[in-house]
C-alpha cells in the first residue's frame, strides 16, 4: 500500500492517512481481508511518529473500516459500513453541507454542483473497475 503524507500541510497527518485508506477501499484497491502494514512499519516508511499511525488506525477501527486481531495484524474489515443507514447519512451530511456552501459561494448553480459530485462518483467507479480487472473481484 502506497501512502503519502505531507507534514507541512495544515491537515493533521492522521487524517491524511485515514482519507487515503478510505479512498483505496472505496476504489477497490484494498478489499476486505487485505492486510495493512503494521503501525511500526508504516510509521518508519513515512518517517512519522508511531503514535500518529496508531491514532489513524484506531479511528478507522472505531468506524468499522479496519479490524485488528489482538496482538496481531490489521485488516480491512469484512463488511465496512455495517452501520445503520441513518448513521452513515449522519456522517456524510457535514461534507454535503460543505459542498453546498462552497459551491454556492463560488456561484455554481445547483445543477453544476450535482454534476461535479456525479463526475467524482463516476471516476471512483471507473477506478474500481480498473482494480477489478486486475484479477480481483470487484466489491
Amino acid at each position: 500500500m502506497l501512502l503519502h503524507v505531507n507534514p507541512a500541510s495544515g491537515v493533521p497527518t492522521y487524517l491524511q492517512i485515514e482519507t487515503q485508506v478510505k479512498h483505496y477501499i472505496a476504489a477497490g484497491a484494498l478489499t476486505p481481508g487485505d492486510a495493512l502494514p503494521s503501525v511500526r512499519q508504516l510509521a518508519s516508511d513515512l518517517r512519522i511518529s508511531t503514535n500518529t499511525v496508531a491514532r489513524a488506525y484506531q479511528d478507522l477501527e472505531r468506524d468499522g473500516i479496519l479490524r485488528t486481531i489482538p496482538g496481531g495484524r490489521t485488516y480491512v474489515a469484512e463488511n465496512p459500513g455495517s452501520f445503520l443507514k441513518a448513521e452513515r447519512v449522519r456522517r456524510l451530511r457535514p461534507y454535503a453541507r460543505q459542498i453546498a456552501v462552497e459551491g454556492t459561494q463560488l456561484r455554481l448553480d445547483p445543477r453544476e454542483i450535482m454534476q461535479l459530485v456525479q463526475q467524482e462518483l463516476d471516476a471512483l467507479e471507473e477506478e474500481h473497475e480498473r482494480y477489478g480487472n486486475l484479477d480481483r473481484k470487484a466489491r
Binding site: 507534514p7 507541512a8 500541510s9 495544515g10 491537515v11 493533521p12 497527518t13 492522521y14 487524517l15 503501525v39 511500526r40 510509521a43 518508519s44 518517517r47 512519522i48 511518529s49 508511531t50 503514535n51 500518529t52 491514532r55
Partner: protein
C-alpha cells in the same frame, strides 16, 4: 509527575545579561516525539542544559523521567542520551575510540547498535574526530546517543550538517528503533520542517516562555485563519482569538479553538466571512512569535498565552 518524561514548573534561568528562560512550564508525555521549537536564542539550549544538570536553574523546578532536576543527576544522565548543540567531542580520538570511551558510562550500552548505526549512517570510524566534516561529527554524536539504550533522547539541533539522505535515514531509525519501543524523543530545532514530519507533540518557545504546547495534529485540527470584512466590527481579542492584521474593512484573526463558531458569531454581527482556512505549523509559529513581539514592545493586544488543547 512520573507519567511525564519531562516536567518543569516555572523554570527561570537568568544570566547576567539576559533572562534566558522565563517561567517555563513543560509537559512532555512519555513515548512521544516532542519538537521543542523556537528561534535562535529563544532559550532552547539553556532549558536543555538545566534539564541535564549542566546549568542550575535560577528558579523553578522539574523532573526528568521522574527524577528531580539538579538532585538526581546521575540517575537522569544514565537514562538520557544527549546530543549537544555544539557537537564537539575529543578531537584527537577516532569515532571507534570515542565509542570505547563512552560505553563504560551506560549500563544498557549496545555494541550491536554501534555496528548497525555506524554502517547505516556511513560513519568513518577510524579518522580523528577533529578531521571530520560537520555532518560526520553530528553522525558520531547521534551514534553515541542511539547506542546508549536510553529511555529519553534529548537532541539539540540534531540535523546540523546532515545531508537530506542521512537525515531521512536518521528519522527512519528514530521511528523504527526508538519511538516504536515506547521511548521518548525530545528534539530542539529552529528548522520547523526537520521536526514537523516526525514530531507528534510540539512546544513553541520564544523569549524563554512557552507560547504553545499541544499535540501537533490537534493544533492543526483546531487552529484557523479567519478573514472577515465589515465595517465597525467589535475589536475582539482573547486568549483564544488573536487579531493578526487589520486593513481597511478587512480583519485577519488567528483562532485557536471553535473557529466555525467564531466565524458564525461575526457573521451574525454583520461581517462577511471571507475565509476560514487551516494553518501549517510554520504559519502558526510565525503568527504567534510576531504577535508576541508586538505585544512585548508595548503595542495593542495581550500576550499570547500558552494554550493546552485537551487530549482526545
Amino acid at each position: 509527575m512520573s507519567d511525564m518524561a519531562i516536567w518543569t514548573e516555572k523554570l527561570v534561568k537568568i544570566y547576567p545579561d539576559v533572562r534566558a528562560v522565563d517561567g517555563l512550564n513543560l509537559n512532555v508525555p512519555r513515548g512521544v516525539v516532542y519538537g521543542f521549537l523556537g528561534r535562535n536564542g529563544a532559550g532552547k539550549s539553556s532549558t536543555i542544559r538545566i534539564l541535564l544538570g549542566l546549568a542550575r536553574a535560577t528558579e523553578g523546578h522539574g523532573t526528568v523521567l521522574g527524577f528531580p532536576i539538579g538532585r538526581e543527576q546521575v540517575a537522569i544522565l544514565e537514562r538520557t542520551a544527549y546530543v549537544s548543540e555544539s557537537k564537539t567531542l575529543y578531537g584527537n580520538l577516532t569515532p571507534r575510540e570515542l565509542v570505547r570511551f563512552t560505553r563504560g558510562f551506560y549500563p544498557n550500552w549496545s555494541e550491536q547498535a554501534v555496528r548497525k548505526y555506524s554502517q547505516l549512517l556511513e560513519i568513518p570510524m577510524d579518522r580523528h574526530f577533529s578531521k571530520l566534516s560537520q555532518g560526520n561529527r553530528t553522525k558520531v554524536c547521534l551514534l553515541l546517543a542511539l547506542s546508549q539504550g536510553a529511555d529519553l533522547l534529548i537532541l539539540d539541533e540534531p540535523a546540523t550538517g546532515l545531508d537530506p539522505v542521512v537525515l531521512d535515514e536518521f528519522l527512519r531509525i528514530l521511528v523504527q528503533d526508538v519511538v516504536s519501543e515506547g521511548k521518548t524523543v525530545f528534539i530542539s530545532s529552529h528548522q520547523l520542517s526537520d521536526v514537523e514530519q516526525i514530531a507528534d507533540w510540539v512546544g513553541l518557545i520564544d523569549h524563554g516562555k512557552l507560547l504553545l504546547e499541544a499535540r501537533l495534529d490537534d493544533i492543526k485540527s483546531e487552529f484557523r485563519f479567519v478573514t472577515v470584512a465589515g465595517n465597525g466590527l467589535p475589536q475582539i481579542q482573547s486568549s483564544e482569538v488573536l487579531l493578526l492584521a487589520s486593513e481597511g474593512s478587512f480583519q485577519k484573526y488567528l483562532v485557536k479553538k471553535d473557529a466555525d463558531a467564531f466565524a458564525a458569531q461575526l457573521s451574525r454581527q454583520g461581517a462577511t466571512v471571507a475565509e476560514v482556512s487551516p494553518m501549517s505549523l510554520r504559519e502558526i509559529f510565525l503568527a504567534l512569535v510576531r504577535k508576541e513581539e508586538t505585544c512585548t514592545s508595548g503595542n495593542v493586544g495581550e500576550i499570547a498565552e500558552a494554550v493546552s488543547l485537551p487530549l482526545s
